[in-house]
Symmetry: C2
Subunit: 150 residues, 2 copies
DNA sequence: GGTGAAACGTAGGCCGT
DNA sequence: ACGGCCTACGTTTCACC
């Protein structure tokens, strides 16, 4: 397992902020020579600490202006029921995240669609037809005062 | 506003998948010369369609093995109350996302800590002391069968 | 949108600590 | 085992077509 010392911590912090900065700039920021810095980055990638690099897009400029979180309760807690639900949900493009949680419901989903009509369609035509679903509660996102992933 | 034609769509799709692939590889994938491709990427950045580039880290390898979603209800819906709450929440490192939602509660938060003890500390010492908070419901994440951001 | 060439960055061998 | 130096190679970037 790769050791996360102070320098690796700074590297990860910097790459989380801007994954496309050059290795030269990164090396200077963390106080290392370029080659030493590159070796550390490669080791972090190899070890799986860095899982990848992604562009962050502005959903509002791209037709995913509607965001909602939806809690879903199932009518059975068997493995088969959960797997069937997860399979169905994986196929839906609108579902960006699906978390299996403890509490009064089994799942918390993040849904992104073009608008409310798009959400309604997903809600009734996709989620509504799944036989495993017992309860649905929608929380429409009006704003995100803090979002470290955006 | 920048037009999202078929090629820009492919560019965004590719950069979402791997933000660090070379412009040469990207150009070939979208069927453009490197210079034309670079101009499009730069324009997408300038227009704010691409908001930035981030490394995706493996939380389990880094001491944020505990993830929970928390719904928070406030005891007043005034602007001042909301702003005070949002200011307090912004300062907390454990809060990775804060969404203002419709429904029976006002906020949905994503919390990441080292372990359950770390969560308990945040729950009682940070969230518990805010005077604006009326209700708290915790949904501990046991797994994420789908997470497009990870 | 494509071409070409200069500027720049990457990546890996090598040596010192 | 880890960091710094050097250099060949690849990539980015931009003026020009």
């Amino acid at each position: 397992m790769t050791k996360i010392d102070a320098i690796n911590d700074r590297i990860l912090q910097e790459l989380s902020r801007d994954a496309r900065q050059s290795n030269l700039a990164l090396a200077e920021r963390v106080g290392l020579s370029p080659s030493a810095c590159l070796r550390r980055v490669q080791e972090l990638e190899r070890a799986g600490v860095i899982k990848g690099y992604r562009a962050v897009l502005d959903g509002e400029k791209l037709g995913t202006g509607f965001v909602a979180y939806v809690t879903v309760g199932l009518n059975s807690h068997t493995k088969a029921t959960q797997e069937a639900f997860e399979r169905a949900i994986s196929r839906a493009r609108e579902v960006r995240e699906c978390h299996n949680v403890t509490g009064t419901v089994e799942y918390l989903l993040r849904i992104e669609t073009f608008d409310l009509a798009g959400y309604k369609h997903w809600h009734t035509e996709v989620l509504g037809v799944l036989p495993q679903v017992r309860s649905i509660t929608t929380y429409v996102v009006m704003g995100s005062p803090k979002d470290d992933r955006a």
